[in-house]
Symmetry: C2
Subunit: 256 residues, 2 copies
């Protein structure tokens, strides 16, 4: 999509060329004639990076004019490099002396979806997040056990396991998906975790952040020291108790 | 800089073409022959986005092979659009009903450097962060009172002031720069704040995050409700007490 538009942000007046003005309803029309001329790429990149730094929250769908841009990014070399760079920072952190005790209480937490397993093949068929979530359809994909591993996550996972750190997976998936999730994880090479924590009945209706923080709290009460969390959603990284370090993987297809 | 390199991340082996291997010492050489071929742009963009999401911390200088890339970004339309999009999210947040009381205790916090005032003209002469910080030189620039306003920040500042929210500026600058800072802020249009908080003798040696959190704590003890923080550094946004929302502006020239 090389479609360009003269998009004037002040914040913000627009002159649109090739896209219906209503498509851009995230922006405010002020019509003051000042501001920047920006391209669709500028617009969509700013959407993406503001999702990544958690300025832009609670979106239900990727803006439809950015579906192509987000699809390109999520299947690009840049996405892979961005992910690898994030995980490389974990490796650097792990190479430092930070008090691992070997008493069996050193812990690390991973998200599952789009952290260990990639749902990009699913989202590719659903406009890379441009379609509103259909849970039945998504869970059908999850039951299919066909999600590939994110290669650099698998490598980091094994590195952490090799250090004798206990690995806990805390996922937004529900308990009814346990078998499918275990099978899928095993199939692509993730083994030897200490806990796979899924949403139970008691977690119904809780926000992802609250649910995940409560599960961490339980681990802390069991004596675990949480040295790091790797996740693609801020809801996995924020809240109490904190991990010593957190690592955010890119994902602008959905907000959970 | 269209210099391309075959850069193979596994994590990570490199074949460099046109750049000395030692330039890339952030990366690990594994020589396993697998992985991605990436360009210098891929490499530097992944550096920048990982700084933005706070995966990459405590860097002293921008990697010198990325100085040109960072300079281009910090002076680009994209930087302006990314900043405006972040501040637009503040405007959306402010347009919601979230309990402003009008009792004079609703508060908002801004950083000063590279949030209200732009130091890009200074860093332009110092390799956009590629040179190690020279505090004497930087403070000379600050004393010169010539930093321009970030246009979209000024607009948001005035919007917040117009709502009767008390504005506090919490800056890493020292008290000895108070006159210069006030003059510079006034000169470019920032007026009417309730407090300009600078580092005093008692803050010497404290990390930026600790110093800023302590100042917020003091505000909370005085009865203020901190509805939002806008800053370009994570150290301005993290720690206790939290603000209800935080907004991260882009800045990959330095880490404070």
């Amino acid at each position: 999509m090389r479609m360009h538009l003269a998009l004037v942000l002040g914040l913000v007046s627009l002159v649109l060329d090739g896209v219906c003005a209503s498509d851009w309803n995230i922006l405010h029309h002020k019509g003051d004639g000042k501001g920047l001329k920006i391209s669709l790429k500028n617009y969509c990149e700013s959407w993406r990076v503001n999702v990544e730094v958690h300025n832009l929250r609670d979106f239900e769908v990727v803006p439809h004019e950015c579906v192509e841009y987000i699809g390109k990014y999520m299947t690009s070399t840049q996405y892979k490099v961005d992910s690898e760079r994030a995980l490389e920072q974990c490796t650097l952190y792990l190479s430092q002396e930070f008090g691992l005790t070997g008493d069996g209480k050193d812990a690390w937490i991973f998200d599952v979806d789009d952290t260990l397993l990639s749902n990009i093949p699913y989202y590719k068929k659903h406009q890379y997040g441009g379609e509103k979530l259909n849970l039945t359809s998504l869970e059908g994909w999850m039951r299919g056990r066909k999600a590939p591993a994110l290669a650099s996550s698998l490598s980091l996972y094994n590195e952490i396991k090799g250090k004798g750190i206990k690995i806990f997976l805390i996922s937004n998936r529900g308990e009814h998906l346990r078998d499918a999730t275990v099978d899928n994880l095993f199939e692509v090479g993730y083994t030897g975790w200490t806990g796979l924590i899924l949403r139970g009945d008691e977690d119904c209706g809780k926000s992802a952040q609250k649910y995940k923080a409560e599960k961490r709290q339980k681990l802390v009460e069991e004596g675990y020291r949480i040295w790091g969390i790797v996740g693609d959603q801020w809801s996995s990284l924020l809240g109490h108790p904190h991990a010593t370090r957190t690592f955010k993987l890119p994902n602008s297809m959905y907000y959970a």
